[in-house]
Subunit: 360 residues, 4 copies
């Protein structure tokens, strides 16, 4: 490490923004340099502008920072990286303005995930998609700016073990997943207590479509000319998404079929997951967990309350790996939806970019 | 109705037994005549023997009834029907003793569900399996006794729409289901609050096996000689069962494939479910809901807290009927696990048996 | 009963309005005649205008009724009684307009509770305050109109046993209460799940002040000239209000001191509560519960989930009556906050008014 | 620090024992040397003997330690301190045997709290009660052994601010408290989910008596002869204890009256709490939080989910300090019931004893 990078946060007062602040505070590579939020918050100190909802206290260093509007001016122009936790209804325009101002952006918003010149990267699944950045910069005539998106929270957890298996055993032909998602995924105030106490809501708007499409881009590859993406063509994904009364941690019941026949055994699948090492570990990224995937051998795991903090929220915990009567293999996974599934992905992407020399 | 039938309840102090009491109290066909429980409870009044956990108060008529041991003697011998909410560890022996005493038994226990001479009946799915009773009586030399089991709570909900579809469109080739089950399914004290608050437990011992096997018997048929069952041979069932922080009501995400090609459309599936009428309705059974299956057109239904009381807990509520990217059709269903999924099935079975002249 | 009264509901799409609809649907005295809501809802059918959140389904009779704006015109002018579940920010103006249009109003809003010419009545505590209506009509030159308010949800539960004790043993000198209030008290969407799951919020804006002040008016009396209220002068009330993760049912821990020395014994207190009969019972009001106060002798009652439906939500359940080391007597009570504590109070008030001949 | 002390844990597999293990693992003063549990667990490795329920994983160092029976033999005899998380039904006999074996014991069990020769110490309230140890050793002819108990979880939180106020303003004449206690206080499996979801249980066996009595001993003093305790004589305590659906963190609504007239103002009370420093801070104990009491100025704090980890679970968080209409001052406090309210108290007591030279 030669220098500490200046980080800006867009949407800093929201749920994802608060998590970015916790993760970046006291981070060895980054210092929080600029905070952006809506005009209503701008001009106030962060402590006053924010309805803080994290179990840890507001880091002292940001308490008195003055919140700015989300424009590529002033302190934001001094940032080496900018993290966006903006809502989708404003992210499109703001992020494009920041990109055009030649700033390096890691976005948690969905707006550009499907864009053909924007990488959609889950840091421990497809860091190779950073290879598109040269084309992106050239296309937009940027010297140092870029725009990289991370995936939907549920997708972010699922693709890690799927990538491990795809690397080891070749393409998956079918992926069925049923999720049980935490309320924090909906932001604040988000889900009304009257809707979720003693209840399950069997629907999350747009979530199933995101899981079904994003998986094909993430598990696909950058094309040969390094100027676009080859999405998976022969893989079918079917997702069912539910909201359950859990604060943090999405649980996902996955069943998969391999193209390869015979399919790998349960023990082979477990071994591949346990041995899975990614570029994040190889490059020694600060937030990379020792194990990308922790496999539990106990019957009744993973559980959100007991496993969501595994690897400081950066590991995916997998359990109940067993044969499926219809597809090949079933398992249940858990992902901390606001760490690995949101802000943490952004932070780990920035660490990867820094290690790869992409932040200049 | 010519006469009110005397009903006995085995396991009367447990969770299922309490529900039996609520459902039979003030029932027009039945009067509660005998209550059986463990030797520890025997000799006490019901109010003293029971840790009552229902939201409704203990019916006045049973408060001072004296609890007996679970033996086919005394008042139990005077019963026209006996309902068993016994735990599996004692149900086997006790229920057999009652059967041999020529008593008519409806059991919620799992012990005899897999027995080749014992019908496993979900009242609005396979009442035709009552046809085996003549053989059962002959085999055991009974004049009026019989043993009929109801299904596991999760199975009980799922097979109702599946039977409707099978009747209309022919056999199903594949059934995948992921459940989110309520804590009341585990009895009392059952699930510790420390295990389920802010949590999901991705495992329920034996539950997946029950769903996978029971479905094949229920959706199968009595054989031609009326002395055994032809289980489904070509249908594959894959079940994943989870416990969630919900008090009552199991939610199940189901995806199915039909043998018939092309598969029926979403609208055909919905129409068949809505129009499904069963023998319970045709015979005018007291507890039969107007609609066996209620189909919700709203995106975010069924929900346990809002839909579990539909049809007084006897209807299955279905929602989100839509195409599946992997199998043919997906939907989500809700069943009240202690009514239609347990004691209510027993009661509705007894009503059916009475209407069919099987209680003599 | 000579005729069925036409009822209007203001704020019909809100949480309190939905409860009014459930309580008035199929009520023998009333028929729902007009539904009022915000201009955004007006013109739509009730089913379309409402985000229905009750566990029971929308009554068929209101599904297709067209929602109006909250103005004293059209069908509202034909109403014999109007129930208001309006939010405080609009209730003041609208309710005054309805009163001036000579309509009879029962309001759940706080706006006029403190007004010197408006009765604040908990139906099973101070129905004698209806005696002010003659003065109110005279003052506003009304022939049949009136405005009666019901109390805050927490106050509504507490004053019932306190009035029973005051009637029997004379004035209370001190009342300390700590509440644990359900989320439904905050309306919909109301309390965010992120604020209340695995949590307690030790504050509800304005609630403590309401409990402390309203109690003095309700337990006070109409003055001798029947043109105002004599509030209690020598009683001190100290309230602490908390929100807990409960859907319906406010639990309140109360400790009281009597002026009378020696104070009544625990057994005397219990007897007085159990024997408490009110005008609502005496006049045979339809919704009046058999017992205004149910006293539980079990250690661990009342509990919201088990006791909130007592008396169909119209009874107050009291338990743990015992001596206090500091004041005289302590007990815990439970009130269904949206029935007896809100809409149900309005309905029972209307029944009382009808029986007393005040609805002309 | 000259040497690391060997620590034994009795009741190591229970809820309190698990917390002891987390707190002592990697503690700079202690190394875990012996684990004791029931004969059923003895002989197994800790990982196998324990149903681990903490959100953090089992520390690697204890996974393979073999659990012993709770007898003062073998490795327990080598321990410098022994922490007891035993259940009350066995703690009496076992702890006495350990004491007679001249071992130094910190017990979380209630058995000896009321004993006249056993200190009952809340580490940031009455560490001066350690002064009785010389008499205890002399009485039992011990060279290094001792028995010190910590208080009930609810008492442990309340006495910290009360002691600060008593030190500053003199005796309190009245203390009223209503608690809302977390389910973890009842151990595992403890509270059934069916008893607490969507519910409040207004009773915890023995809890109110403990709060009322323990407070008088803790806020009292060692007598002049240093051979017994002078309990508070003129202070009245009235406690009401409730269980709420919260995992960790007891919330307590407290109202107090001072003997001193006029009573201190709200601002004086806040200042005294904020400035309160104890021997634990003065001696630099490892686990002593920077602030024994954190006072929140926000309306809606403390909240268990947001504040229980304050000071790593060792701080008491106070909020809503305001005048009481009946007594002098009201406030709400929060204590982490399994850290400061249980195992953490034991650990902090051991740190204090070590700093004071009492562990020899």
């Amino acid at each position: 490490m030669t220098r500490v990078l200046k980080a800006g946060i867009l949407g800093a007062t929201g749920t994802v923004g608060q998590r970015f602040i916790l993760l970046l505070s006291q981070h060895p590579y980054f210092t929080i340099h600029a905070l952006g939020a809506s005009p209503r918050s701008a001009g106030k100190t962060y402590a006053k502008a924010t309805k803080w909802k994290m179990a840890q206290r507001i880091p002292a260093e940001v308490q008195d920072m003055v919140v700015k509007t989300c424009e590529p001016t002033g302190e934001f122009l001094e940032c080496d990286v900018v993290f966006s936790g903006l809502d989708a209804d404003v992210a499109g325009e703001i992020e494009m303005a920041f990109l055009k101002a030649d700033l390096g952006l890691f976005s948690n918003a969905k707006n550009y995930r499907t864009h053909e010149e924007v990488p959609l990267i889950v840091p421990m699944a497809n860091p190779s998609h950073f290879d598109l950045l040269a084309h992106q910069r050239s296309k937009h005539s940027l010297s140092k700016g870029f725009l990289v998106t991370n995936a939907n929270c549920s997708t972010s957890g699922m693709v890690v073990p799927l990538k491990a298996l795809q690397d080891a055993f070749g393409p998956l032909s079918k992926i069925m997943v049923t999720t049980m998602q935490a309320v924090s995924g909906a932001g604040y105030p988000g889900v009304s207590s009257l809707d979720i106490m003693d209840n399950v809501v069997p629907f999350i708007g747009g979530e199933e479509e995101k899981m079904e499409w994003e998986t094909l881009k993430i598990l696909g590859s950058v094309n040969k000319d390094l100027n676009g993406f080859d999405l998976l063509q022969s893989t079918k994904v079917s997702a069912t998404c539910n909201r359950v009364p859990v604060i943090d941690g999405h649980t996902e019941c996955v069943s998969i079929e391999f193209e390869r026949k015979p399919a790998p055994s349960v023990e082979e699948v477990i071994r591949v997951m346990e041995e899975y090492r990614t570029e994040a570990q190889a490059l020694g990224c600060h937030s990379a967990p020792e194990q990308a995937i922790i496999v539990s051998r106990e019957d009744d795991r993973p559980q959100p309350r007991l496993d969501r903090e595994n690897g400081n929220g950066y590991s995916v915990t997998v359990g109940r790996v067993r044969p499926c009567n219809i597809l090949d293999i079933k398992f249940t996974l858990l992902v901390h939806n606001t760490i690995l599934g949101a802000a943490g992905s952004g932070v780990l992407l920035a660490e990867l970019a820094q290690k790869k020399g992409l932040i200049v």
